[in-house]
Amino acid sequence: MSADEIRTSKVEELRVVHQPLPRHDQAEKIAGTTRYAGDLAFAGMLHARLVRSQVPSARLLRRDGSRALGVPGVVVVLFGEDVPNNEIRVDVPGQTVEVGALKATMQVLATERVRFHGEPIALVVAESEDALARACGLVEVEYEDLPVVSDPEEALREGAPAVHDTGNLLAEWNIDVGDVDAAFAAADVIVEGEYRTQFVDHAYLEPEAGVGWLDDDGVMNLRVATQVVEHYRDVARILGVADSKVRVIAPYLGGGFGGKEDMTVEPYLAIAVAHTRRPVRMQWTRNESLLARAKRHRNVMRYRTAAAADGTILAHDVEIVSDAGAYAYLSALVLLYSSVHACGPYRVDNARIRSKAAYTNNPPTSAFRGFGGMQVVLGYESQIDELATRLGVDPGELRKRNAIRRGDRLPVGQTIETEVLLAETIDAVRDRAGDPPRPSGPRKVVGRAIASNLQSYGRLVWLNDSAAAWVGYQMDGSLTVRCGVPDVGGGQASSLAQIASEVLGVDMDRISVHFGDSALTPLAGTTTATRQLLMSGNAVYEAAMLLKDQVLGAIAAETAQPVESLLLAPGGVASAGRTVPLAQALQVCRRRNVPIEALGTFFGPKGREVTRDLSGERIFPDFTFGTHLADVEVDLDTGQVRVLRYVAAHDVGRAINPKSVEGQIAGAAVQGIGQALLEEIVVEDGVNLTGGFFQYLIPTAADVPDIEVVVLESGEGLGPFGARGVGEPPIGPPLAAISSAIAAAVGARPTTLPITPERVLDAAARGGA
């Protein structure tokens, strides 16, 4: 089955899908019985902790674990030399089909050179966490400081300190379409702006954790908080064993957002287990998580936009420089997303996009919800708003005038093949919001703005994505679903149950979903890139349809009725006048040698591999569109911003579970508001100054208003029942909706995130407020 068969559905025919059912994983989470990665313990279990670099750039002159080994309870202190293959491939997590583009690596444990503050150098394994608390500080590391480069634009200049021998330019993408210079020459109005985003941390509540053990067959088992069980292959390569000798299990995650897409604890647990032959647990502290796990890229984005007097966008000229930090990870792909999404959900016939990612001695940067497609929303939507101001046109009307429609092409060359309800989302947020607010007092000003976006769902088509799922009846008519999808908390497994229930007529409470096990569940790929509903959802749909056909076929043969006259309904197989109970129907299947289980595999849309000069008829499977509206109030004396009202509308294709969709949108919107106003990993000369949740400020319940969600359903997504992916799309618009609302309030635009009170006051001073 492929994505070309878009399955739309009639809402009125759906029984289970499209219902706001409680998720099947909720009761246990609410009763406190869900066992997360850090909750599992073994008798005789050891504990492991990393010793990390205290400086951002240095040669390692000496590493000595002997004093640490002297601490009672310490079992072993491991260095890079103790790792069979001391190399982590950090190119495309979970990739099954070889792709040629990237072969980025880093050491599991640094041996000669460290490139960022927090880079792992040694691994201490001990009988207790108390022993680790004593011992880790006793591992002696002697550094010879090397020059630090911590600004990506400086890193690209001639003579900058080289982070890697290959130079500091990690990746470069160009898009060229039309005649940009001619378009600018012919423009009635030109808007220019420079926008800066910051390092952002995923800040999920569950820090990285896991337990590893060797089972009776000598298989290395890792039960870890990960979005990618396919890392078993990476672990096998590091250990120098066959892929079949490593198993990764992902229990329910305490949040992912991209931060558990690259490996975190996996290689270290595996090494510790391999050396000690005993179960080992590793739990990172919040401090470690903030210090060393990859962040969201900070971007510098320079936009020039040309438009005609009637508001038609004629051209975009965009330059993006992205801070890749010290190691590649997914930076090249994140930058690719930035490039493809850089012009937003608008028709732009002429575009020149130049983007570069540079190595620095900052924390590495990698995947994070929105994956490069979200930072640029700040750029293109700020430009549109400025354009509206300059032309004296309503910002909503200006957007509608330029909005992409089905059949239009993005600058990269991809044609949008599904319905686009962008204009409808603009109307929806405005209708919902009604009249703008009034200031609550003197020295207070209010502002309202909207921001629209597009965000891809599903992996880049040249990665040849696929997902598999197994669906089988038990003899009592209950149902088992097996699918390798990791559940990061977004209801991934529950959605699969809902889809299977819809197709096979089994009640939700009689369905169990086994997920996230690289050995025992069919591999479904990563829970990233807003792909799991599209991929695993379709795989389960496929398997369920196959199974349904098998059962109906068996009953048709048994009862000598045409298969078309039969219906798989709750309770059994119905035909004119009578119902064969399901348990009986399954007995018929067994007697007739018809399997009562099925494996479904879904293959995503395919495409050609891209090159530095990006161009392609299809880069992503499809996109999700939406618009957000923000009302803010600014205190002109203190610069404090209060978000008074927030409305978010997206065309989700079809809501498999409307409550889950609303939860995804509200959650992403608040993360985006956090990035707009509060959050920043502060790095000074490569030194990460952000040590805890007292400094890394994610929004609290009191920092945000109700997020009013408007769900539109075109029924045109590529997922099952016409669903579009919705996990990432709502995180981008808040950056622009909030900054434009502040601009509307104070008369000038803040262009650097986070928009701290001081930046608000700077803008107010410029705006004359």
Binding site: C136, E680, Q695, T700
Partner: protein, 287 residues
């Protein structure tokens, strides 16, 4: 999570705690609510050999009214200040300050003495005590000395307490009728440490300020009274404050990840005006 083991001792009384401090020869720390100390230990910012727990000592918890002042035991919790009827009647500024501390869990465990002895320059209670002109009673077994708040708070995380001394109680003068109060702070999020916080007490007559006290936290290395501002607003009405109060002199704010020194200076004046205005309004209502 990774805290090096230490010796734990439970003090029977505050004087017992003094004795244990003396015996430790400077290697011990006191813990009461632990709401500042334990996070710092978890973050690896504080390491110690001996921890002396006074949290279960009951003698020093609670508020009593004495001649001209309230005596507040050092082990009184923030939550007690929020709900205590004597505080509500005589010194509502203290309850307001306590309400701004951390979150509900911190206020349940955290103590007055712990907050004052910790001496975070942006903390609410040292600020309120400074504004109120409170006096701290320190013991070293018996009552050793009484130190006014503005002398006790020396600089960031540094106080007048000697190694073997314990802050036992605080005397907060009860003000006569006609006084109004104001307390405000600006923080990045509710419950965060204040960037700048301000407290004021004002007595008015016929809508004009007769007497005032105003103090700031987070604007220097310790809470400070703004004598010059107090002098400049005598005779003013609430609506005159904006014009009367110029840039606040004598501050020494820091730049950190929360705010620059410049922003703190700006907030200092804004908040001084606001708390004085609030205090004026309340004083007028009381009159």
């Amino acid at each position: 999570m990774f805290v090096e083991p230490f010796r734990y001792e439970r003090a029977e009384s505050l004087s017992d705690a003094c004795a244990r401090l003396r015996d430790s020869g400077g290697t011990a720390k006191l813990v009461a609510g632990g709401q500042s100390l334990l996070p710092m230990m978890n973050l690896g910012l504080v390491e110690l050999d001996v921890l002396i727990d006074v949290s279960r000592v009951t003698e020093a918890r609670g508020v009593v009214e004495e001649e001209g002042y309230l005596r507040i035991g050092a082990l009184t919790r923030h939550r007690d200040l929020e709900t205590d009827p004597l505080v509500a009647r005589h010194q509502p500024l203290l309850a307001a300050a306590a309400r701004h501390v951390g979150n509900a869990r911190v206020r349940n465990r955290g103590t007055v003495g712990g907050s004052l002895a910790h001496a975070d320059p942006s903390a609410e209670l040292p600020l309120a005590m400074t504004c109120l002109g409170a006096e701290y009673e320190l013991i070293d077994g018996a009552l050793a000395r009484v130190v006014p708040a503005h002398e006790f708070h020396v600089s960031s995380f540094t106080t007048e307490l000697a190694d073997h001394e314990v802050l036992a109680s605080v005397r907060v003068p009860t003000l006569g009728p006609g006084w109004g109060w104001g307390f405000q702070e600006v923080s990045r999020r509710p419950g965060d440490f204040a960037i700048v916080a301000a407290a004021a007490l004002v007595r008015t007559a016929g809508g004009e300020m007769v007497e005032s006290r105003v103090a700031l936290g987070g604007a220097s290395d310790r809470p400070i009274r703004l004598g010059a501002v107090e002098a400049s607003v005598t005779g003013a009405r609430a609506e005159d404050l904006e014009a009367r109060i110029g840039p606040v002199e004598g501050l020494d704010p820091v730049t950190d990840t929360n705010a620059t020194a410049e922003h703190r200076r700006r907030l200092a004046r804004v908040l001084a005006v606001r708390v004085l205005a609030d205090a004026c309004r309340r004083a007028d209502e009381a009159a």
